[in-house]
């Protein structure tokens, strides 16, 4: 390997790629050639650094300078000043990464990273995911080597069981027990599946792991194959994740070339092959039995369990299925041991969890924290709080199957069981922050709209029941709610939960139940007072011009329907019969004189 005096890491995750990081890499490489520096300085496209809000992100090593919001136009300055002359470009350094005395703060001490503990994300943003040598330099495939050469399958399963690792895909089932089941099924053929369908509509943890460190997932799948006696695996990825698919396929072919996948791995008689299968845009395919139906080439409709996949799964053979993040935890557990893993997190939820932090939060991005970390730490210390001085209202976890946690419960530790107690759930890791401007009835409606669209239609309670719930919610947010609508919602919710065939229907009412539990007053305001306390629902919101109006006429000029009238330098008025609530006037007013009531 060649020696470089400097490495420039540029984030190639989806967020930063969307804001132009590919162009940055291209430009930088070109400039380095022009300056004849290409043998001294290497540009590396890595996976996601996590702090997506500050993207595109560029880090220069060995100094560890953390540049944020870099534009193509800035590349010249970084090359000229920093790489050539050794002078840090202060104006581009991330605001928390430089002290007043202009000393650099190490990455791990920046507040966003300080409270995190990265296991599943350990290599994301550290290595070039398209280069297996870099993965191997950070211990990839060592755990597999240890398993197949030094340990029996039973011993490996015992380690995984003892570690207390629970499924990160939502259910939280013990991974060790699952593997034991699959191992004990007798069959001539078994399969290992990685669930990378990531259906939660606001989450991208699994995507970032696949994009940033694909080898760890492949390695763990091979370890699982060794444990349960399988020689073939499938990764089922959402088709919407082209970068992840490309890197996975590259990683598979590189691993095969190195003899780390394929026949007789590392000279043993253990063989394992992995295929990639693309989803086609159906949320229900994240459910394990539907996912297998989809790999078999059918409509992704779930089947009743039992039989469980460990007994009869893909192509009717015993199958073990785990989530991407679950797999990403396996190699470190094998290498560092049970005690290390158990020392992290809580008694019943060991280790860490990755969350996709989004919504009304300053530091949008990916965070990995120890289980048991209070929500408050995630929102304020890591997330940097709520933008624009607004009040935090609730945090939604668990996506369409989960619920909202109100602001007064922020000190509850995040773990599987505590979240369920609160009427939410861990889910796969979506964490959406909502502020005072978000209407909780509308959020419930949003998730119901999602499940109605995604219900596969096989069972009646889910197909028709969720639609009836949505109709009720639709009329509530339109200001046409009826007296007994809340009771109707509760009754429907109970029936759907109890009688649906699969997890989709069984959990679909959760967003409604949880918002009803914590924000019943908002529902009541919509129905009985015909108001939306958050001033979000348009049918229930009126506009008013206050005495702050200077009569500048800007609002009257921008109004597309001429609903605003008034003399110059006189207070204006809005005719609500004409107003279509496009809110253009609010955006235009320089005196904040137009308010929603």
């Amino acid at each position: 390997m060649e020696i470089y005096r400097s490495h420039v890491l540029v984030c190639g995750g989806t967020g930063c790629t969307s804001s132009g990081s590919s162009k940055i890499i291209e430009t930088m490489e070109q400039m380095l050639v022009e300056k004849e520096l290409e043998r001294e300085i290497k540009v590396i496209r890595t996976g996601c650094f996590g702090l997506c809000e500050a993207g595109p992100i560029v880090i220069v090593y060995p100094e560890g300078t953390f540049y944020s919001h870099v534009k193509v136009e800035d590349v010249g300055e970084i090359v000229e000043e920093h790489l050539l002359k050794g002078r840090i470009v202060r104006r581009l350094v991330y605001k928390g990464a430089l002290t007043d005395e202009s000393a650099q703060v190490p990455l791990k001490d920046i507040p966003f990273y300080q409270h995190q503990h990265r296991i599943a994300l350990r290599n994301c943003g550290v290595i070039d995911p398209e280069n297996i040598d870099e993965a191997i330099a950070t211990d990839a495939y060592q755990a597999l080597a240890k398993c197949v050469t030094e340990m029996t399958p039973e011993e490996v399963i015992e380690v995984i069981s003892q570690s207390g690792l629970r499924g990160r895909g939502g259910g939280g089932f013990s991974t060790g027990i699952k593997w034991k089941f699959a191992a004990s099924s007798k069959s001539d053929k078994k399969y290992v599946i990685c669930n990378a369908d990531e259906g939660d509509p606001g989450a991208f943890m699994d995507r970032s792991i696949l994009e940033g460190d694909p080898h760890t997932v492949l390695e763990a799948m091979a370890i699982c194959g060794y444990c349960i006696g399988s020689d073939e695996g499938y990764v089922y990825v959402r088709a919407e994740y082209p970068i992840a698919v490309e890197r996975l396929e590259k990683a598979i072919s590189q691993a095969r070339a190195y003899g780390l996948l394929g026949d007789n791995i590392l000279g043993t008689d253990f063989s394992f092959n992995i295929h990639v299968r693309l989803g086609a845009g159906a949320f229900v395919c994240g459910e394990e039995t539907a996912l297998m139906a989809s790999i078999e080439g059918h409509r992704g409709e779930p089947k009743p369990r039992p039989p469980f996949p460990a007994v009869r799964g893909l192509f009717d053979k015993p199958t073990n299925i785990n989530n991407v993040e679950t797999y990403a935890n396996i190699p470190p557990i094998i290498l560092n041991g049970v005690d290390w893993f158990r020392s992290l997190g809580t008694e019943k939820s060991s280790g860490t969890k990755v969350f996709a932090l989004g919504g009304k939060i300053n530091n949008t991005g990916l965070v990995e924290v120890e289980m048991g970390t209070p929500l408050r730490t995630v929102i304020y210390d890591i997330g940097g709080g709520i933008p624009k001085g607004k009040q935090l209202k609730a945090v939604q976890t668990g996506g369409p199957s989960g619920g909202c946690i109100p602001v007064d419960l922020l000190d509850v530790p995040i773990e599987y069981d505590s979240l369920i107690e609160l009427g939410s759930m861990m889910g796969s890791g979506g964490m959406i922050v909502m502020d005072e401007d978000n209407c909780m009835v509308d959020i419930a409606r949003f998730f119901l709209d999602f499940t109605v669209e995604e219900s596969c239609g096989k069972c009646t309670p889910c197909r028709i029941g969720t639609r009836r719930m949505l109709e009720i919610l639709d009329r509530i947010v339109e200001g046409k709610g009826k007296e007994d609508d809340i009771e109707k919602l509760e009754r429907l919710a109970r029936v759907i939960k109890e009688t649906s065939l699969c997890g989709l229907g069984q959990t679909a009412p959760n967003p409604v139940l949880s918002t009803l539990h914590y924000f019943r007053d908002e529902y009541e305001a919509h129905i009985y007072d015909r108001t939306c306390p958050a001033h979000h629902c348009r049918s229930l919101t009126k506009l008013q011009i206050t005495d702050d109006c200077r009569g500048c006429t800007a609002c009257a000029r921008v109004c597309p329907v001429d609903a605003i009238s008034g003399e110059v330098r006189q207070k204006h008025v809005i005719d609500m019969d004409k107003c279509t609530k496009c809110y253009s006037c609010i955006e235009k007013c320089r005196f904040d004189a137009i308010i929603k009531v």
């Binding site: 969307s18 088709a239 299968r277 693309l278 989803g279 086609a280 790999i295 080439g297 919504g359 009304k360």
Partner: protein
């Protein structure tokens, strides 16, 4: 025109040939078909069914079950507005409404001149840029409803 179509169907025959006998071949073959034609036309469905030992109703069932497949071609530009949770709480619905207003169509539909198809998608992993939309491959982030006309103007030419 016709020759171009014929070429595509010849290509499809090759795709079918490559997938024969593979376990669960129908979906991957249909995905290749979708890539080739931009949709899965009826004639292609019939060929897939004949070639891969399935019935037409099975192929049609799959094509209509998964949202990635469409039976008719999309517009020249596909505008996908993210309605993932992170984007939704930051006002993505307003963006979608505004786009539909500007090009006079509805979500899931193509404009009368056949140039623009508007869709709602789920999280594309760029929540840091919420609200987000993509026009073909290009990503536009942190948009406000009032930015919509100027963004669209670039493509309308």
């Amino acid at each position: 025109m016709a020759t171009k179509d014929q070429e595509k169907y010849l290509e499809l025959e090759k795709i079918i040939e490559e997938h024969k006998g593979l376990p669960g071949a129908l979906m991957p073959a249909m995905q290749k078909t979708q890539e080739l034609f931009g949709c899965v036309p009826l004639k292609a469905q019939q060929m897939l069914a004949d070639g891969l030992n399935a019935t037409l109703s099975e192929v049609y069932g799959i094509a209509t079950f998964y949202s990635q497949f469409n039976l008719e071609p999309k517009g020249e530009y596909v505008i996908s507005v993210c309605l993932g949770t992170a984007c939704y709480v930051k006002g993505a619905q307003d963006i979608l409404d505004r786009i539909c207003e500007e090009i006079e169509t509805m979500p899931g539909k193509t404009s009368a001149d056949g140039r623009f198809t508007v869709e709602a998608t789920r999280c594309i992993g760029a929540c840091g840029l919420a609200p987000v939309m993509t026009i073909n491959e290009e990503v536009h982030g942190r948009i406000m409803p009032d930015d919509v006309p100027s963004i669209l103007a670039k493509y309308k030419k």
